[in-house]
């Protein structure tokens, strides 16, 4: 009985806090106000505390502390390196000592750059190029070959012109640097494709936001009617 009662009390308190925070955030609709700021600052604090907890429980404790305390000699030696680099990183907190943390940052940036290069080549360049070629593959299209071909051509034109838009090379002329005529035309077509892409993304985000608004309004009504 007391367990059910305490569970209900906990539900009521957590629901009440959620309800208040929802109202405080939605109060921004009438303009920036202290209630909105309180909610946002609490949110930032809680998110930072939560992130610190996750970093401790998911990363530092299992990958650093456990091998140091109970790992083999090899494990301990291998864990000393990130421990030293991590401690050096702490010097970044003060501007006077921050350069001592530079080697740690360099390690992070070096590994990050390599991962980014590997990801860009293996995860984007090869698969997307292959997908662009597959769009023009008519095997299995049957009587819909013309539809498949036209879609493939549109996709190819869109992909190439969008890429051309990001080409910022220009020839030096008497009246200043100028793009070639063909590049200018292609990049304009690319701009149209980019505008369409962002329009679709905008619609997607708008629908997600609308869903969130409906869910929040539903939560407010449900909470008030349950009181």
């Amino acid at each position: 009985m007391s367990a059910i009662f305490s569970a209900n009390v906990v539900d009521l308190i957590t629901g009440g806090i959620s309800f208040l925070l929802t109202l405080m955030v939605l109060s921004y609709l009438i303009g920036d106000n202290p209630a909105f700021r309180v909610a946002v600052y609490i949110f930032i604090g809680v998110s930072a505390g939560y992130a610190a907890g996750v970093a401790w429980h998911q990363v530092l404790f299992p990958r650093l502390i456990v091998p140091l305390l109970s790992g083999s000699l090899a494990d301990r030696l291998l864990t000393v390196v990130p421990l030293v680099l991590g401690l050096l990183l702490l010097f970044k907190l003060s501007p006077r000592t921050s350069r001592l943390g530079t080697p740690s940052m360099a390690f992070l940036v070096g590994v990050g750059a390599a991962v980014a290069v590997g990801g860009a080549v293996m995860g984007t360049l090869f698969p997307q190029t292959r997908a662009s070629m597959n769009a023009l593959d008519l095997s299995g299209a049957g009587q819909y070959w013309l539809e498949r071909l036209s879609e493939g051509v549109v996709m190819l034109v869109g992909t190439v012109t969008t890429l051309v838009y990001f080409h910022f090379g220009a020839k030096a002329t008497a009246s200043g640097p100028q793009r070639g005529k063909l590049v200018s035309v292609l990049s304009w077509v690319g701009q149209v494709f980019i505008a369409i892409t962002f329009g679709v993304l905008f619609a997607g985000v708008f629908m997600a936001a609308m869903t969130a608004l409906i869910e929040r309004l539903n939560f407010i009504i449900t909470f008030l009617s349950a009181l």
Partner: protein, 220 residues
């Protein structure tokens, strides 16, 4: 050369060497993952070890970021600057959540569902109004062909996605126009953008690995 300057030079050279060496080893581990007999290569083991170290360092970096946040707001409270009450709230909520997470790691999700979820969902809900306002402003202040294409596309997608009250799905829009725009035209643009981003990432990454760019402060 005085001692301070010498130390800076040594740190800069060592940092550049560390960035290049760690980056090249990790990259080599990606491309030479297996030996000729199909077994995992030594480079893969090195890559995994270096990645593990980087993950640990990222954990440290999160703590340093949070400590920095704490420092900034603590100073604000100390100096009794404008808005220091908000900073106090931030510090209290930060400390309380972290300590709760340390003491009762299994129950920290209650904080997520009570605070983070409603605030994030409400901020997302606010976007409905913000995006509508932004699109109206776009029409009023930057009316050109591209902004019209952008807004008409968004409108067509919105009308074609969900059934309208009393009308249901609009014939032709839901089954032909919307899929063509979203799955062909937008996919083509998105593919171009993705390839552009990947090429940019590749260039930036290689510049770092060659030591041409040193964003970590490797310049003396």
């Amino acid at each position: 050369m005085n001692r301070k300057s010498l130390l800076s030079t040594v740190i800069a050279i060592a940092s550049t060497a560390i960035a290049i060496a760690s980056g090249v080893l990790v990259l080599a581990g990606y491309f030479f993952a297996q030996k000729a007999d199909g077994q995992t290569s030594l480079l893969t083991d090195i890559r995994l070890t270096l990645l593990n170290w980087a993950i640990i360092l990222a954990g440290f970096a999160i703590f340093i970021g949070i400590l920095s946040l704490f420092q900034v707001h603590f100073k604000k409270i100390q100096k009794k600057q404008k808005g220091s009450v908000y900073s106090l709230l931030l510090i209290i909520s930060l400390a309380a959540t972290f300590l709760f997470g340390l003491v009762k790691p299994g129950q920290v999700e209650i904080v997520f569902t009570t605070v983070q979820l409603p605030v994030e969902a409400s901020l997302m809900a606010l976007l409905t109004v913000t995006l509508t306002y932004a699109s109206i402003r776009l029409l009023r202040h930057r009316l050109n062909l591209l902004s019209v294409i952008f807004l008409v596309t968004a409108l067509l997608i919105l009308l074609g996605t969900a059934p309208l009250p009393f009308l249901g799905n609009i014939p032709g829009l839901s089954d032909w126009v919307r899929p063509f725009i979203a799955q062909v035209m937008a996919a083509a643009g998105a593919r171009g953008i993705l390839l552009g981003v990947a090429l940019g990432t590749l260039t930036t990454g290689l510049r770092i690995l060659f030591g041409a760019d040193r964003p970590y402060g490797g310049n003396k």
